[in-house]
């Protein structure tokens, strides 16, 4: 049922490498590995977790004492902007950003221009990824034709063409009948359906005839002070409740994207307790920022779902810790500068995240003692499982995909530019503690941080 991340499309597909990483603190919570070891890689697989300083190899040897090694991360929710908005991102730059963030795989959403809704679209993207992608990239197709929310796409044919899953992300599936049909059809097609949960009747307070008057931030004390139209938490949680009920009724499975509110956490808890097959994700920005940031009216803090209140943030952290929220996903959403250099209400929604995700969570949650490092490391790769991909592992015999992390490094995101083509990060200008030094996918080094690469040479 599950397959390896490296079987997705990327430049390095099919060629496994040899490598030894010596002396690092190796942490793989799922495999119960936590200690100083040498990691020996041959033919793209982990062959041995050896005592520190003992291993040698035919290939490159990386001396990594004082550094940390984790299973490489997996992001089930990114926007690579291909086709249609290559000025913001493309497969090459987006996967380079992923490599720099420690990822061994990303899943690209289908709300492109035009949307990915035909087998030919999927095949074309896969071919480009095979030429351009630094790390394995999977592609989702839309649930509804043209992203219009009316008719199903040819899900079976899309699946055969290699669509990893289905999603109308960016938009909710407002029509409950269409949602139900997609869940029924899943019994034929198999792949998971990822849901952007938002009731537009609640999130667009002026009504459907005026989508441009839609909510632009969390509805709460800050929106009341600023006079900005709010998106209430219940716009999200009520839709999750509907879809959890439909999934239960159809014995189907769903993946809920970017949880943002305490109410949503409660709905997911009730669904999981009732045995519904539901997984969900949370973004780094929802875990470390709140709607207080919006007081500056800085458009970098505009995204959908919006940053919510401190109480929501605490609920998300607790749910991630307990495993109620399965994984971290960035919702990496690049935007051109001119889409953000406008007043807050007119700005595009979305923030980049691939290059900063782990460092942000390490700095803001792990170092202050809010979240265990082992828990975070698990959640950074667990999202693969929701789409039938094996989460990376450091167990001998597993595909050798790992992150080499320097927990001591201090850096300022964006100070040396970005791998991504866009720079709409919430975190540019902040000080982060800990930085990805290198990323390995199936034994191949797909990223080296510049200073670290020089140190090796």
């Amino acid at each position: 049922m599950s397959r390896r991340a490296s079987s997705l499309d990327w430049r390095g597909r099919g060629s496994g490498g040899d490598l030894v990483v010596r002396g690092a603190f190796v942490l793989d919570p799922r495999a119960a590995i936590a200690g100083a070891h040498d990691v020996v890689i041959a033919g793209g697989e982990i062959v041995e977790i050896a005592p520190p300083g003992t291993a040698d190899g035919p290939g490159e040897v990386i001396e990594a004492e004082g550094k940390q090694v984790f299973p490489a991360f997996f992001d089930p929710h990114v926007h690579l902007r291909v086709p249609g908005n290559e000025d913001e991102e493309d497969i090459e730059t987006g996967t380079r950003a992923a490599a720099a963030g420690g990822y061994c795989g990303v899943l690209a959403m289908a709300n492109t221009t035009p949307p990915v809704d035909s087998a030919a679209d999927v095949l074309a993207l896969r071919e480009r990824a095979g030429d351009e992608a630094s790390v394995p990239a999977g592609f989702l197709a839309t649930v509804s034709r043209g992203l219009e929310g009316q008719e199903l796409t040819e899900m079976a044919e899309l699946r055969e063409a290699g669509a990893v899953g289905f999603s109308d992300d960016g938009l909710p599936i407002a029509n409950a009948r269409l949602m139900r049909r997609a869940l029924q059809y899943q019994h034929l097609v198999g792949a998971n359906i990822a849901l952007h949960e938002e009731d537009h009747d609640l999130s667009r307070p002026a009504g459907a005839h005026a989508p441009h008057l839609g909510g632009v931030m969390h509805e709460g004390v800050v929106s009341a002070a600023l006079g900005l139209a709010g998106v209430p938490s219940v716009a999200e949680s009520t839709m999750i409740a509907r879809d959890a009920a439909l999934a239960a009724y159809e014995d189907a499975r769903i993946h809920v994207q970017h949880l943002s509110a305490r109410e949503s956490v409660e709905v997911v808890r009730a669904a999981k307790d009732a045995g519904v097959r539901i997984t969900c994700e949370v973004t780094p920005h929802h875990l470390v920022l709140t709607d207080e940031e919006v007081r500056t009216l800085d458009s970098r803090f505009k995204m959908n779902p919006p940053l919510r209140a401190e109480d929501d943030r605490q609920a998300l952290i607790e749910a991630l810790r307990s495993g109620l929220i399965d994984c971290v996903a960035t919702d990496h959403a690049p935007h051109a500068a001119e889409e953000k250099e406008v007043p807050f209400e007119a700005a595009a929604m979305g923030v980049t995240g691939l290059e900063t995700a782990f460092a942000v969570l390490h700095s803001k949650l792990v170092l202050p003692g809010v979240l265990d490092l082992a828990v975070l490391v698990d959640r950074m790769s667990a999202g693969a499982a929701a789409f039938d991909i094996e989460p990376s592992s450091l167990t001998p015999g597993a595909e050798a995909s790992l992150v080499l992390f320097d927990p001591e490094a201090e850096w300022e995101p964006g100070a040396d530019g970005w791998e991504s083509r866009s720079d709409n990060s919430c975190f540019s200008g902040s000080r982060l503690h800990g930085r990805v030094l290198a990323t390995v996918v199936a034994g191949q080094v797909v990223y080296r941080q510049r200073s670290f690469a020089m140190g090796v040479a």
Binding site: P205, A206, G207, H209, A210, E219, G220, V221, V222, S223, A224, A225, L226, G227, L228, A229, G230, P232, L297, E338, E341, V342, P343, F344, E345, A346
Partner: protein, 323 residues
């Protein structure tokens, strides 16, 4: 003060200073020649992205009474209308070297962005539903002339608070001057959390209106019906219209204009003895002169400019030739 972007950025001392300055300019307005040379040679750009009659004309006249050169740009028919971004428009207008930009925008925070992108002093003449600070200052000025200090006065702001930048600026300004503010309107038009956000009380009915010293009615837009905020304008008027039966002689009535007669205010109240509506418009001119003066002279005269010093303002030399 470098810019006037939001009441939220001001200290009470800033407001006091502008009030005193406005009183000086009120005297100028009673002269035959109502013009002083204070800002001669300075350029002020009025950039209005929304239709506006009283705010734009009031700022324009204020600038002219101070002898500044004024360029007014309205969005309709301009480059703005042709899709030019705000940033590009500001860069273009920057070529004229304006000392001040007065901007009205449908978007919150637009004035802050202009302040970031331009060297000019920036006046927020209304940004989305966020703030309208010059309106709040002229309302404080109007009330102080009538009531003296606002300490302990009870002010009710009635109507569509959700969509009102005037409400937000006025709540902050009235409270800063020591008044107690209650907002009143249908629950659908009172933003959730406004008590904590802005420090006011909330009422959904006019039953306790008698406790108000001042009743500040807001404009009710007909579109709100189509957006199902209120079931009908008729019901709204029944529940929230300020008419003479609801008012006692000591209560003052204000409105930022333009008024929908027979909706938020009855005709006899607008024209009646309780109404400060006409005085508000008069105050608007002198308060906006005071704002421009404050920002462009830093509250102090320019070196070598006798007409702009403190005495000059309370007793400025009128320009001899007809304006």
């Amino acid at each position: 003060m470098r810019h006037l972007l939001a009441i939220g950025n001001l200290e009470r001392a800033d407001i006091e200073r502008i009030m005193e300055r406005a009183e000086g300019f009120a005297e100028v307005g009673r002269r035959d020649i109502k013009k002083v040379p204070t800002l001669r040679g300075r350029t002020i750009v009025n950039l209005f992205y929304e239709s506006s009659t009283r705010t734009s004309s009031s700022f324009e006249l204020a600038a002219k009474r101070l002898s500044a050169d004024v360029v007014s740009v309205k969005s309709a028919g301009s480059a703005v209308d042709k899709g030019e971004s705000l940033k590009d428009t500001i860069a273009t207008l920057g070529a004229y070297g304006p000392e001040a930009i007065v901007i009205r925008s449908p978007h919150a925070g637009a004035a802050d962005l202009v302040a970031r992108w331009s060297d000019a002093a920036v006046v927020n003449a209304g940004d989305g539903k966020h703030e309208h600070p010059s309106q709040a200052l002229l309302d404080v000025y109007t009330l102080r002339r009538r009531l003296g200090a606002l300490e302990g006065r009870r002010i009710w702001i009635v109507g569509d608070v959700l969509h009102s930048r005037v409400a937000r600026s006025n709540i902050l300004a009235f409270r800063m001057m020591g008044a107690e503010v209650t907002v009143c309107g249908p629950p659908t038009l009172i933003p959730r959390g406004i008590e904590r956000a802005l420090g006011c009380a909330v009422s959904y009915e006019l039953d306790d209106l008698e406790q108000a010293d001042v009743v500040y009615a807001l404009r009710m837009q007909r579109e709100r019906m189509g957006e199902s905020f209120v079931p009908s304008i008729r019901e709204y008027a029944t529940k929230y219209q300020i008419d003479s039966r609801r008012l006692s002689p000591r209560q003052l009535v204000m409105h930022p204009g333009p008024v929908n007669r027979g909706i938020e205010l009855s005709g006899e109240v607008i024209d009646g003895p309780n109404s400060l509506v006409a005085e508000q418009v008069e105050s608007g001119l002198v308060v906006r002169m005071a704002i421009l003066y404050e920002l462009l002279t830093g509250g102090r005269p320019r070196p070598g400019d006798r007409s702009g010093d403190a005495d000059g303002v309370t007793d400025p030399t009128p320009i001899k030739e007809p304006a």
